[in-house]
């Protein structure tokens, strides 16, 4: 049995009378790369921040590396990597100075990885942090969060501003981290193709709720859009119904069986599923 790297148990969070997290149950184990997919404002960032102790949840529990995230000790902190959406904090430093200071807080810092990545992202160590483009800034934040090979890596829209080539290379490194170091990764995004390449698991977040959490492959085989001409003649009680539309429904739990009254069953790409769920 593996121990969970990150665990949410029945988590709720209310902000200004809005429920931004509803009944979240989620477990991340070593080797998992979880893509958190949702619209802007769906609660992804809040979900991630609560795993870091930046936000305290109202009910339920979060365990980060088995501990309350607001009380992580030094040892546990050096096993968590985080890249926030807005990179901020090293104004006034050159890249070299920033990395020099940052690495001094971690005993497991991998200098080779740092150098490789600087080259890969074409970062000049003498450039000032505040003069970097958003993409370069994000690349630097990734180096800072990954060069010590954290057990748990939390990324809030990590690759949105990277160019496609840098993005692909970064994904390969995520695989290395998750498979070779047995780490768990959770990253939020609204770019479905990134999830389809990288993620082992997908969590679909809508209005603060996890609508669907499954292995990506499993999700693609078991989620279908079914269309029918007569709503009353269709019996979908065997399935989880994710969304219903006029003469169509999105169902989960499909196992290649025939469904009476259904005209057409079609598979969905993640993007189609995402759009259909918000229709």
């Amino acid at each position: 049995m593996t121990t969970a790297l990150l665990e949410y148990k029945n988590v709720h969070k209310i902000f200004n009378q809005n429920m931004v997290l509803k009944n979240i149950d989620l477990t991340i184990e070593p080797g998992m790369v979880v893509g958190l997919l949702g619209k802007n404002g769906a609660g992804k960032t809040t979900l991630l921040r609560s795993a870091l102790g930046l936000i305290e949840v109202d009910t339920g529990e979060v365990f980060t590396l088995g501990e309350n995230p607001t009380q992580l000790n030094t040892e546990l902190k050096s096993q968590v990597g985080y890249v926030p959406q807005q990179a901020f904090g090293y104004e006034g430093f050159s890249i070299r100075e920033a990395l020099d200071l940052h690495s001094s807080f971690y005993s497991e810092w991998d200098n080779t990885l740092e150098l490789d990545w600087l080259k890969r992202f074409e970062l000049n160590p003498d450039d000032m942090v505040e003069n970097l483009s958003i993409g370069q800034r994000q690349a630097l934040a990734l180096i800072m969060a990954m060069a010590y090979r954290p057990k748990l890596l939390i990324l809030d829209e990590p690759v949105a501003s990277l160019d496609p080539i840098a993005r692909r290379e970064f994904m390969l490194d995520l695989f290395d981290l998750s498979l070779e170091s047995g780490s768990g990764v959770i990253f939020s995004t609204h770019i479905t193709s990134d999830i389809e390449r990288v993620a082992t698991h997908v969590a679909l977040v809508k209005d603060g709720e996890i609508k669907l959490f499954n292995e990506l492959d499993e999700l693609k085989t078991s989620v279908r859009k079914v269309s029918f001409s007569n709503e009353t003649a269709v019996n979908l009680s065997d399935f989880d119904i994710l969304n219903t539309q006029n003469n169509a429904a999105i169902i989960s739990g499909y196992k290649q069986q025939d469904i009476a009254g259904v005209n057409h069953v079609s598979s969905l790409s993640l993007e189609q599923l995402f759009v259909e769920l918000h229709a």
């Binding site: 902190k77 050096s78 926030p84 904090g89 430093f93 920033a98 200071l101 971690y106």
Partner: protein, 421 residues
Amino acid sequence: MSNTLNRTWHKGFYAYWFKECGSLNYLLPMFIFVIISVLVMAKGVTEALPFTICFTSICAFASVSWQSIRLQATEWHSLVPGYTEHIVKQGNIIIVAPHVILITSAIIFEQYDVLKLLSVSVLIGTLFYLKCRVTSKMFNSSAYFFFAIIGFTIVFKEVPTWLAALAVILNISLVLFRKHFGTAFKWQAQALVDYKHALQSGWSPIPKGFLKGYGQGLNKFFFPLSYFMGRSLIQYTVLVLIIFVALLTLNYFYVAGRPSLFIFSNLVCILAFMILWTRIQRQQAWGTLITLPIYSSVNEAKTAYAKACEKYALCILACSLSLAGTIEFLRFDEPNFRLTAAYALVNTAGVLLCFSVGNYCKKTAFFSIALVFTLGFVLAITGVVVETEEVSTGSLGLACCYFIVACFANRNSSKQLYTNL
């Protein structure tokens, strides 16, 4: 574990504190004023001491308070093991070092009144810093805090011993019970907004929305200066008026005399600093300004900017004239035309010189350094005028020349204004 062991206390110190324009802005004046204070103590010029000492002390606290806003705006700082502690340690050194220098030199030069004064300013500084550690909102009022200290140095030339003792006791208890203020440096979404707002607005102390809607006329009058400043221009103008009235009232009830003229010059220069700061932060906006149909060329827009600065200086001239005139009249029951004129000319010229230097600066860091020296120069000249009992006609002539030179400097330097075009 080799990495961790290799970290010295000063790792990243220079970049963190001296290359971020917000904190540099306080640290540079602090350094200069530490040196001035020590020199002043060595020479025994007690009149200037209260101001220089308090200013040093406040600058130290303000820069650390400012950085604590930055910590609160940094999402990851608490997740990096030891990061917060490292920065706080450096901050403590920044607070303690200048105070140790001041106290040591006070003891060496036997200026024991300085110690009493310091005990009070440290108390106020500590209070401000402890509040800033838990909320980012507090820093917006840092300008009030500066004004309070300056006012304090006028009112209390000598701090009573009991007050100093009380301040020390309060200070110790504040430090001991600092945890009661709340969790320090906790990340909050608001902090980044406050940080960026403060950087752009130059720490405007007046709440948003103040005089909203009444400033159209002023905005038109000061265009395009108002274009860069937004609402803060009206706020600063109002601030000049408030200080003006406050000083007049003070002199009416309590004879403060010429030091209040010097104080006014100080404040006016600080306001000029804030105005320029904001303008430099928004210099990308030139593009939009020049596309307006009222200007046919970049140079025309720049000249219009220089004219707006002159108008602003004109307001300062009017205020200076009436302030100096009234104060002298209150003191001696007869007008002192030459001093009044000399003071107003010199004071306004100072503001114009600040504007000229600002016109040459493209980067905020460079601007901070250049302006600190300019302020030193400008205030020294004002100081000489204020200290002169009887202004001779020759001196008045010199003041006139100084004023004319400053006007030319402002107009000519405007051609050097950096635009992103």
